[in-house]
Each structure stands twice: as structure tokens, then as C-alpha cells.
Point group: C2
Chain length 143, copies 2
DNA sequence: TCATTGTTTTAGAATTATTCTAATTCTAAT
DNA sequence: ATTAGAATTAGAATAATTCTAAAACAATGA
């Protein structure tokens, strides 16, 4: 039994259900991208994901990787983490957590503890509601 | 008494001293950029600053605005705040504080209180040292 | 079943933020 | 003044991201 897929067959149903549960229409490209992205918990850039998908032998354009990641973000499947102007990461873990970013290695590491301060509505600017809290702690290798 | 400068003469000495105190060589372009940037506390993108400088009648290239902002960041005169892939703000206030970002208006608003969690060395990944804590609370207009 | 129409998705092309590098300007020494 | 080296500038190149026109798909009716 052969397969061109980059993930074991047992995962196919899981990925399909994941997309379906989030009201995302199934397409060949979206499956390929999701297979690679959700193979494990990871932080990847659009470029890295594009390369990873390409390495499975699949043909998907970079624009589609961007479009699909944007869709996944809107649908709550992945979370965007903005590190700097040329490093937007996509985190396959959407649970509420924060990140260490190692400026020397480029690694993004989860902060397990919920150490973020708690904000209540009255803390926010008048007429606004909280969307999301982004906490990134930049660290460097202590040489 | 006339002046092509976009800031009152009383500020000239202040700006010059500011750059000098941070070991930044004075040049025509850097003065023009700093005059506009430090006219008041503000959060601006490189593009906005470029336009603002241009509106004073001065001729400075956009590349120089980018290069100069990068230099100012390295010298600790301004702080970079990464909001998303096409919105890097430069904050003329370098004191330790965080931001509300209104996704509807694009406004960046200081959080006065030091509500960020306190991290000690042992909280950090092994072999790393803290660089900076970036906390951005995204809010939206509650319609 | 097969057009027809409207909707969704894809990906090449265009855009735009940012960086790079070659040319220019400045500084210091002779 | 002239040269040599360092610092600075800005036009050109790059690369991340978005746009849009074409392609694929879905739904409807003859």
C-alpha cells in the first residue's frame, strides 16, 4: 500500500475533521499544508512551511501557503506571532501561552506558565475590547 | 528671523545634545529626522516619519530614514515595536512600558503601568539572558 | 445529462517594506 | 591641498506579503 501523502493514513481523518470542525472547505492544497503544519507542535514561518510542503513532493504555490495560513488564523486553527518585520511565525498550538524568542538562534520557545498579567475591561482604552495579548520575551545566548 | 527647520530654535541644541549623548555623529539628515521624530512623544512607522520629514521641505531618502531609525534603535534612542508584518512602529519613548494596539484604528497607545510579569534568570531557557520584554495587547473598537 | 451562473480557491504577477552596496561625503594626517 | 580611510547616504535590489485574474468547483434548471 503506497501513498504520496506526507503523513500516515491514520492522520488523514484527523486533519479532515480538524478543518471541517473549523468550517474550512477541504481542498487538495489545504490538506497538504495542514498535514505538514499539524504533523507536530511547531512554530514555522510561511517560507519554512512552503519549503516543508515542497519537500514532500507536493506542488503548492507560496501564495497559497500565505493565503491558507491567513485563513487558518481567521478560523482559529493557528496563531500568528509577530517577531520582527521579516519573521512572522505560525504556531500550531492555539492555547493561551506566550513565547521566548532567542535572537541568536531564531528559535521560538513556548512559555508554559500563564505569567501574563491579567487585564480587565476597565484597564483598556475607552470603547475597546480585548482581542489578544501578545507577550514575547527576547533572550540572547549568554556567551 | 526665518528658518527652514521644522522645530523651534530652542530645540536644536536639545536634539544635538541628545544625539551626542548617545554617541551618534551629527549629520544634516540625522538632525532633520530627529527633529521630526522627537518633536513630541509619538509612535510612527518608517513610512510615516519619511512623509513627515518630506513635508518639512527637506530631502532625505527613505533608505536613510530606515538606516537612521535602525541606528537610533541600536543606540537606545528609540524603541521598536513589532505589531505585524507591515507595521513596525518606532516609539520615541524608551522607558520601560507596554502597548495597547487598536486593530481598528491602527493606534498604538502606551500602557503606563508596569503590569508585565517579572522574570528572573531561572525562568529563562538555559544559557540565555533577557534582552527585552515585548507586551502588546490587541484591542478592537467595541461597536 | 449538460449548459449556465455564481462562488470559491489558486497562484502568477504586482506591490511594498526593508536591506544592501556602490558611490559620496566627511575626517584626519601628511 | 592631497590622499587614505572611515562613515554616511540613497538608488537599486531583495524578499515578504498581497492582489487579482484565471481556474476549479458547486448549484441550478432545461
Amino acid at each position: 500500500m503506497e501513498s504520496k501523502s506526507n503523513s500516515p493514513m491514520v492522520d488523514r481523518a484527523r486533519i479532515d475533521k480538524l478543518l471541517d470542525d473549523h468550517n474550512i472547505n477541504l481542498t487538495r492544497q489545504r490538506r497538504l499544508i495542514a498535514d505538514t503544519l499539524f504533523a507536530r507542535h511547531q512554530h514555522v514561518t510561511a517560507e519554512q512551511l512552503f519549503e516543508a510542503v515542497k519537500n514532500t513532493g507536493a506542488r503548492v504555490s507560496k501564495a497559497t501557503v500565505y493565503n491558507t495560513l491567513g485563513l487558518f488564523v481567521r478560523k482559529g486553527l493557528v496563531r500568528e506571532v509577530f517577531i520582527d518585520s521579516s519573521r512572522t511565525f505560525y504556531d500550531s498550538n492555539t492555547s493561551h501561552h506566550h513565547h521566548f524568542y532567542n535572537v541568536d538562534t531564531g528559535d521560538l520557545i513556548d512559555i508554559k506558565e500563564r505569567l501574563a498579567p491579567h487585564f480587565v475591561d476597565s484597564d483598556l482604552p475607552a470603547g475597546t475590547a480585548m482581542e489578544i495579548v501578545d507577550l514575547v520575551i527576547r533572550v540572547r545566548n549568554s556567551s
